[in-house]
Amino acid sequence: MAEDHRTLTESAADLANRLQDLSERAADLAVQTSDVISQSSAHAQPFIITGLTVFVLACFVGYHVVWRVTPALHSPLMGITNAISSVIVVGAIIALWPASGGFSLMAFLAVVLASVNIFGGFIITRRMLHMFKKKA
């Protein structure tokens, strides 16, 4: 019995040791986790920052490019910008029937409407541009 007792006590102590071990490992893991996260966040800025950088630069590009458009082609410009602004169709396509939810009617309608614009905008612009001719 005394032996039994000893064994049990020992094994209890053993368990306690293992427990401590484990808790240390858990602590380690936690540290590593936070390390990984902080490191990856140090490397990868939140999207709002890079997005803002891209946005500001794109505004500069837009400003310069649009001012270069010859006034005679301002109507085609409206046509093209109308078409490309429908690039939000990209968002609608993702939402149409995602794995997480079922069929989304709203997304479907958004894709339809954006497609009207994309095709309509490009085709009317092409019609306009095909009319501009040089002196023969």
Binding site: I48, I80, S85, V87, I94, S115, F132
Partner: protein, 463 residues
């Protein structure tokens, strides 16, 4: 895949930039258009290849339906209806943005922006802004379409306390967006949508029909900023780049139009300008007498001229007189007359309107000149043939500081030896201002429909 998609999206963005760059000259414009179409194709193809996109059938169906409708409309529409068409298309972009915002709100997991009922704060803000701007664009563009198409009276609808009401609704909307951020409630979300739809109507009805082009461009610009906002929500640089391009484009075109009319943007937005044309204003002219001519007189004068400058305006678009005009110019050129076209920056009802109509009638673009490039040549011209234009030739803009169009740059048609005005009456143009040029010695009025009158002149020339 993620990274590959990011790269092809970047390529699509670059192609869009090149598309706009191409428009710097008619020679390169078609190539630019091709860039734009390839870019759009790339963007859609990339999205279809994303792992989370699997429902190809409904997607292709939706694109086919929408594309079919779009192609049909764009192929059938008359070039003279361009301003309305643009307004109509914009309303669709606005509605699409509303639907995208709604879909994202209903199923945030699809976009990685949180879970249903617990959407990230930043995404909620961006989403509600996108929703509001989209809804305003939708109804606002529909009103603009109606006014341009003539379905709704072009007269500004004004009532007391209008601006106060709009401001009040704007504040309510802001509060509701804050409420949405706090509660994440679907009811609030759709209430914002309804309010924004109403605001779109209320904001545009006080603005006169002829100011609609500025409004259409402004709404275009808004839809660009909204797309950029959705880009932030979806972490998609392509939407951000495209949004910035479209946003700048709309803003710059509005600015150019306001400058061409010498009005501030605020003045346009506050509305109350223009509307039904004062058709009886000729009576106000007292006993001043205008010289009224016939087609035969005009034909004789022009055939004996050595230099004729043609000034088209909104009336040419209304009468669809561009083909007859080109024919007349051909006859004159055949007779050895030097013929040029002068385009005012705000002639017609949208930027570049006249250029497109003349191009439609096969007028070569190197015979068509911007105001700054040709304004000095009127002094050497024998005839200025003003067809359906009025305000853009009004010398009161230069001399009469009490005129509502004072300060607007105008074409110096009065410097030509003879000015021929083709219009249906002695009435004023869109600004509602009388044109003193009608009563000058060198002026001859050719009263009648622009197309009919031009055809009569052609007949007289040929006989």
């Amino acid at each position: 895949m993620e990274n590959f998609a990011a790269l092809t999206y970047l390529a699509a963005g670059v192609l869009f930039i090149l598309a706009l760059r191409g428009l710097s000259h008619p020679e390169t414009a078609r190539q630019g258009l091709t860039f734009g179409m390839v870019g759009m194709g790339l963007a859609i193809a990339t999205t279809l290849l994303l792992p989370q996109v699997t429902a190809y059938v409904p997607i292709v169906l939706a694109i086919a339906i929408g594309g079919g409708i779009g192609a049909f409309i764009a192929n059938k529409i008359d070039m003279t209806a361009l301003p309305q068409l643009m307004a109509g298309f914009h309303s669709l972009v606005g509605l699409a943005a509303v639907f995208v915002a709604g879909a994202a709100f209903n199923d945030p997991e699809a976009f990685n922006i949180g879970t249903k009922g617990d959407i990230h704060l930043a995404s909620l803000i961006e989403m509600s802004l996108g929703l509001a701007i989209g809804a305003v664009t939708f109804t606002g563009s529909i009103i603009a379409w109606g006014k341009l198409q003539g379905r709704i009276s072009g007269k500004p609808v004004t009532f007391g306390g209008q601006h106060q009401l709009n401001a009040f609704l704007g504040v309510i909307m802001l509060l509701m967006i804050i409420l949405l951020c706090v509660t994440g409630s679907a009811v609030v979300f759709w209430a914002i949508a309804l309010l924004a739809l109403a605001l779109g109507v209320l904001m545009i009805i006080p603005i006169g029909g002829a100011d609609m082009p500025v409004i259409v461009s402004m709404l275009n610009s808004y839809s660009g900023w909204a797309a950029a906002g959705i880009g932030f929500t979806l972490h998609n640089n392509l939407l951000i780049i495209t949004g910035a391009l479209v946003g700048s484009s709309g803003a710059i075109l509005s600015y150019i139009m306001c400058k061409g009319m010498n009005r501030s943007f605020l003045n346009v937005i506050l509305g109350g300008f223009g509307g039904e044309q004062a058709s009886a204003s000729a009576a106000d002219m007292g006993d001043r007498q205008a010289k009224i001519g016939a087609a035969e007189d005009a034909a004789w004068i022009m055939k004996n001229a050595s230099k004729v400058i043609i000034v088209p305006g909104y009336g040419m678009a209304v009468a669809q007189a561009q083909h007859a005009l080109r024919e007349m110019a051909d006859i004159l050129k055949h007779e050895g007359v030097d013929v040029k076209y002068a385009i005012h920056p705000v002639a017609g009802r949208m930027p570049g309107h006249m250029n497109v109509l003349l191009a439609e009638a096969n007028v070569p673009y190197d015979e068509v000149f911007e105001m700054e490039d040709i304004n000095r040549e009127f002094a050497q011209a024998d005839v200025a043939y003003v067809i359906g234009a009025n305000d853009i030739t009004n010398p009161a803009a230069k001399s009469d500081s009490s005129s509502p169009i004072y300060g607007m740059p105008v074409l110096d048609v009065g410097k030509a030896k003879t000015v021929l005005f083709v219009k249906r009456s002695m009435g004023s143009g869109y600004a509602g201002v009388d044109n003193p040029l009608f009563f000058e010695d060198g002026t001859m009025m050719l009263l009648g429909d622009a197309k009919k009158m031009t055809e009569d002149i052609i007949k007289a020339m040929e006989s």
